[in-house]
Assembly symmetry: C2
């Protein structure tokens, strides 16, 4: 996989982010251009004053809210700004910031291989896939307030863990990762309305990479009947870069659910899956290469499901795909699956999730990375 | 119960809220004084300019964030402001607004009677209480973006519902209520830190009444293995009034979990349960009278649990108790329990949850109400 990757050209797709200098100054918006940043407000000041209202901001929130017409105007200026930049700031001279204010955070469970693998491991006496799984994207709400930007270390959490010997309160012994792709909502919707699959690109601005850190022992003990809670809520890390959907046109691919019988609101008439190749590395070593094209549900189906009960969207809503796992052992997106529950993260381990996707010219887009190191538990 | 209530004096506790005039003007903060409002910025303008920064606001967010010392200063002025008001505005002349920006919303499951009743109804072949239930407050994250203020009607949601005949997409036929009490976090905490039970009042400002609208058929179909999602996320209603904890000192009472063996972070050395009497009315008729004092876990234990994994708090975090159900049939907080799943809400039904609590002088405090009417499903 590394060899394959080295053989193709990585193309820039100029994703959006926010940066600050180390002094805790107000963050500023930027585009990533290779190993450098282009300051968006500075670029717009030169020739697009009308966009300053959206771009001279500490987060992408205003741009997200502005919607597809504004996104298109900005996207159309990007090539000129990049070709003749006012200034390029080396990334390693700045701190990358959380690029938008997370409103609600939802996590789906859209990989058939992941759901099947986890079902087999955690509930060996039952059918691995529940009866509902093929009828709708299964998901749950996570904690928006603990979504952090790549680079933020993760503290090994404490929690109650039950066994036949009783319940112990201790640091997790099963700290895991989940390789995911997240979708960033720009345009809100009204309470009571639902967002059809066709309106996906009217609401969603772009894509981030996401690590849904998980404490498997805490999660296993707490999870019945209300689902994951403290086993997940201690931290979720996202890439500092939001790749606009418009950059991923060449990556569109049909999803497996397209061939199944579905409730009308989940039926898609064009491909909205994404052919993104993910990679999980721990301490520099390639652990797996999860293929996002194998996900059973598309991000448009997830959004349609999320809102079919009339739940409204807000600018900054983030929903994630759930762990991306392909059919083979070296394509799974969690250590629970990769190492069969026999080995998890150690203190000091550094986890990096990166991704590429096909570009229109046959090369590949670099979607950036989400990175985090494990800190030891606080002594209790 | 109605007779008992009529026999006691209801005392004002001057809860905090926000109001606007009908034209969609910027909301203003207020205290409730009987059937009228006292404008907080107007009161502070007369003699407490230093508080204007916190009180001349469209939401309670700034006051919440300011913490206990500021809350005390404001509370100390309230009797004088109420005794000699600049102006009292009749409540029926204004619109009451959502009084704070909801950050994350968590829903617990802290009533033993409710958890047992629901377990028996939904999983008749299994032990009603799961092994984890007596060891920690079980909970999950809900949708913060669909928390609305009392008076907002609820639209009957659509969703997938499974049965032996397959899966049908249709409006819910089992629209239910859940009578709950919610807790409003003011002071944030740092990622990685936990908030001990003793620090409860350093973080939590006050209490709201909460209706966790539930679509039981949608919920039953989706809920395994990740918990409730669309069966809950369409709407959660809260009272317009936040009653400060300081007004509830006389209501403090020990919780049943105090006598059980618990992980150290859940052990309490003083009573932090609350003796709140709730009432559920549908179309004016008393349906049940749930007693909050029977909850197994205190709100301080819930907060300690929520943060024991290092999850941070933000100003505006809202966590709810879960359905409040006492031991008898007329004390249960959901229609699933009250009417054994044989009857749910009809279109047009108006649901009102109200509550009182003991005051220091032996009378009772009126905690206000949360109200909502059921609108028919949108034709699909």
């Amino acid at each position: 996989m590394d060899l394959v990757r080295a053989a193709v050209t990585l193309t820039e797709c100029y994703p959006f982010g926010a940066y600050s200098h180390d002094g805790g100054d107000r963050p500023r918006l930027c585009l990533r251009v290779g190993d450098a940043l282009l300051d968006l407000a500075e670029a717009a000041t030169r020739d697009w004053f009308a966009l300053l209202d959206l771009l001279d901001q500490p987060t992408l929130d205003r741009l997200l809210e502005a919607g597809p017409a504004a996104w298109r105007v900005v996207a159309e200026q990007v090539p000129a700004w990049v070709a003749d930049p006012v200034e390029l700031i080396p990334i390693d001279e700045v701190a990358l910031e959380l690029p938008f204010t997370v409103a609600d955070y939802v996590d789906f469970y859209a990989s058939e291989h992941h759901a099947t693998n986890v079902g087999r491991i955690l509930r060996p006496d039952q059918e691995p896939l529940k009866p509902n799984w093929r009828h709708q994207p299964i998901g749950y709400h996570g904690r928006a307030g603990t979504v952090v930007v790549s680079g933020t270390p993760v503290r090994r959490p404490h929690g109650n863990v039950g066994s036949e010997d009783g319940v112990a309160f201790r640091p997790t012994e099963k700290l895991d990762v989940e390789v995911e792709v997240g979708f960033v909502v720009g345009v809100p919707s009204t309470l009571g309305d639902s967002v059809p699959v066709e309106a996906f690109a009217d609401h969603v601005f772009g894509v981030v990479l996401l690590n849904d850190w998980s404490a498997r022992d805490i999660q296993a003990w707490e999870t019945v009947p209300l689902g994951p809670f403290l086993g997940k809520s201690f931290q979720t890390s996202i890439s500092p870069w939001v790749v606009p959907l418009s950059a991923l046109e060449a990556a569109r691919t049909p999803v497996p659910s397209a061939g199944t019988r579905l409730s009308p609101y989940l039926v898609e008439n064009e491909p909205r899956g994404l052919d993104i190749d993910l990679e999980l590395r721990i301490n520099g070593e390639l652990v797996s290469s999860p293929p996002f094209r194998t996900m059973h549900w598309s991000p448009a189906q997830m959004l349609a499901h999320l809102t079919v009960n009339g739940a409204s969207l807000r600018t900054g809503d983030l929903y994630a795909s759930g762990t991306v796992s392909g059919p083979t052992d070296d394509q799974v997106g969690s250590l629970l699956e990769r190492w069969r529950g026999e080995r998890f993260l150690n203190d000091g381990d550094e986890v990096v999730i990166s991704a590429t996707a096909p570009a229109a010219d046959g090369s590949r887009l670099d979607l950036g990375e989400v990175r985090g190191r494990v800190l030891p538990a606080i002594r209790s």
